[in-house]
């Protein structure tokens, strides 16, 4: 059987778009001299990329692939990739060992925002610029690290809430399938969603929130329990697509029809966009993982002496019934 969700990151379709284009941003910026580094040639330098989770879900696969592809495209031959297998301690060690291997530029997809002290110290001592992608590091831009490229998870939660409010016409009962506990992404997507609901639609109650640990099977199991004990639920907010798709399987198994319960989720994987087309999902907020081009472009600009903003927020799309079919090719 053909895999139904092969990544399509090689095409330029679905390329990241910067929300606040570099240079024109109002926020603080950073130049090579401010940072205190020296110019070097990206092509011949050793570059390190530290991935946080296994390349096993579409997001991580697309992310790593995008970095590797872009490096290959630019002729960077010495790219070292490590994978922390979701263990934070390992990621710290990984990056330290990358530094020991003499990398001149670090691209990090952090597993966690806090706890980077030892790495930052070492990198700063050697003046190695760090670009963090998809999650932030809580530290000082331009001295501890160079810049952050990624989405705004809190904003994603808010936008998901907007979609849910639309779908339920501002009233009803909603369940949340939380991500893994303790994860920044979980926290921010939850807070954004809840804050927005409270602010805009007090008629919607959040009557259930349980973790599905970002996994499809767990999403299915929790949803099965949920619709047994809360048959009156109107909407499900899943903090990633996998859990949403698990919820869909559960609803199908329980004899529900597409659209009976409105599901909104975040990520924008191909299966989820297909789910919208099939009518099972209501909307998906995109979180774009293709960081390669933007990351290396930013690095090159920095090395060329141009000012770099302290954060580069990309603009994520929404998928809904209106655009799902046409956007299928751009989903990852």
């Amino acid at each position: 059987e053909e895999p139904q969700s092969a990544p399509a990151a090689t095409s330029t379709a679905g390329q990241q778009v910067v929300q606040s284009p570099s240079g024109t941003a109002a926020g603080p910026t950073c130049t090579l001299t401010q940072f205190g580094g020296t110019k070097f040639d990206l092509k011949t330098a050793t570059v390190g990329f530290s991935q946080s989770e296994k390349e096993a879900n579409p997001f991580r696969i697309a992310e790593t692939k995008s970095i590797k592809d872009e490096a290959a495209k630019l002729g960077i031959t010495n790219l070292k990739v490590t994978n922390a297998q979701s263990q934070f301690s390992k990621q710290i060690t990984d990056v330290q060992q990358l530094i020991a291997q003499g990398v001149r530029l670090l691209v990090i997809a952090p597993l966690n925002s806090d706890g980077w002290e030892p790495v930052l110290q070492q990198a700063a001592a050697k003046k190695i610029p760090i670009i963090t992608v998809d999650r932030k590091i809580n530290a000082k831009a331009c001295s501890d690290y160079l810049t952050f490229i990624g989405s705004d998870f809190y904003e994603q939660g808010k936008r998901a809430a907007d979609r849910m409010i639309d779908a339920l016409a501002s009233k009803g009962k909603v369940a949340i399938l939380l991500g893994a506990p303790g994860n920044n992404v979980t926290t921010e997507r939850t807070n954004g969603f809840k804050d927005r609901i409270k602010e805009k639609a007090p008629g919607i109650t959040i009557s259930f929130e349980q973790t599905g640990e970002f996994a499809r099977e767990k999403g299915q199991q929790v949803t099965e329990q949920l619709i047994q004990s809360n048959p009156d639920i109107n909407g499900i907010y899943a903090e990633n697509d996998e859990m949403a798709l698990g919820a869909v399987t559960a609803l199908k198994g329980a004899g529900k029809e597409a659209g009976d319960i409105k599901i909104v989720s975040v990520d924008g994987t191909r299966s989820a966009v297909q789910g919208i087309a099939d009518g099972w999902l209501h909307a998906v907020i995109e979180s774009n993982p293709r960081f390669g081009p933007l990351a290396f472009e930013t690095a090159q600009k920095f090395l060329d002496g141009q000012p770099i903003p302290d954060k580069v927020i990309i603009s994520d799309r929404d998928y809904d019934t209106g655009n799902a079919k046409d956007s299928l090719g751009e989903a990852y």
Partner: protein, 323 residues
């Protein structure tokens, strides 16, 4: 007179341990009943038939894995690799789905047997301690599963989907499979030479060797069976999910399975296997998880309550042992 009280004292002393032994033997059943009662009283819609179906369907993989685990624990071993073997089976089954779901299932289960055989060979022939041998497999086999199928793959094979979602007489097929496997394992443990040899080896390996039991072969077989069952559980879970997810399928299931076995009163020191109680142990843990989810407790509370219930259940069924 003195003689009489003396006798009575003797009789009471003889009787007391019996009561204790009864609690030890049937404690899990009582705990399951208590939890059922709680839910009937306090959980809305608990008595729906579909609810029972949900609980049974969800517990199926753990039950099947626990059956193999019980055999391994009976030999004083432990098998940490079961979750990864499930993942491997999930990967293999979609790779071979092109040849039809049944051949794919057979290949996947064989793959599980091979993984089990590697662990069993390390334990039986090289003499590596079970926990490390299977720990190496836990790491490596999941990696292998991910190499084979790097990310979740959805499939539309009607046969496999039907395996996961159809019912016979209102009872889901996978539940029937688990029930049948339970009976088979029960028969093997109680009535076959192999079953007796398994517990004898767990009870005293040296003595078993001197008694001419094929110790190494039995050990190998036990791990192969555990691998087989885990793989089957992996295929069934995959069929139910309608997608193969080698990354997260079966994560930490080894701990659930071990808990089910021990809560059921099988000592980790080996030499004894209680099959039905193991199934009850799995049911207890499933009901507990369902109860906590249905009552929407936060994760922190869920874990703390689980800890307490596990302790209480094992306390009731405890057997003096070192591990």
């Amino acid at each position: 007179m003195a003689e009489l009280t003396q006798q009575r004292a003797g009789r009471v002393a003889v009787l007391k341990p019996r009561v204790f032994a009864w609690v030890q033997d049937y404690g899990v059943y009582a705990a399951v009943l208590a939890l059922l009662l709680f839910n009937v009283l306090f959980t809305p819609h608990f008595l729906d038939a579909s609810n029972f179906r949900t609980q049974l369907v969800q517990v199926t993989p753990i039950v099947i894995v626990s059956l193999g685990m019980a055999l391994v624990i009976g030999t004083q071993g432990i098998d940490l690799s079961v979750g990864s073997v499930m993942a491997l089976a999930a990967a293999v089954v979609v790779l071979y789905l092109g040849y039809g779901w049944l051949p794919a299932l057979v290949v996947a289960v064989l793959g599980g047997a091979v993984a089990g055989a590697v662990g069993g060979a390390l334990v039986a022939y090289v003499g590596v301690q079970p926990i490390v041998a299977t720990l190496a497999l836990l790491v490596g086999v999941r990696g292998l599963a991910n190499v084979l199928v790097p990310q979740l793959v959805e499939f539309r094979n009607p046969g496999l989907i039907a395996l996961g979602s159809s019912s016979v007489g209102g009872i889901p097929v996978i539940v029937l499979i688990a029930a049948a496997l339970t009976l088979i394992v029960l028969f093997v443990v109680r009535r076959t030479t192999f079953g007796r040899q398994v517990v004898a080896i767990g009870g005293n390996r040296q003595a078993s060797e001197l008694s001419g039991l094929p110790v190494k072969r039995v050990l190998l077989t036990v791990y192969v069976i555990s691998g087989l069952l885990a793989a089957l559980a992996g295929v069934l879970a995959t069929a139910r999910l309608q997608a193969s997810d080698p990354t997260s399928l079966g994560m930490f299931i080894e701990l659930s399975a071990i808990t089910a076995v021990v809560v059921g009163g099988t000592p980790l020191t080996g030499g004894r296997i209680r099959v039905l109680s193991t199934v009850m142990g799995a049911l207890l843990m499933q009901l507990l998880a369902a109860t906590l989810i249905k009552h929407n407790l936060p994760q922190s509370w869920t874990q703390m309550v689980q800890a307490v219930i596990i302790l209480a259940a094992v306390y009731a069924t405890r057997e003096r042992g070192t591990r």
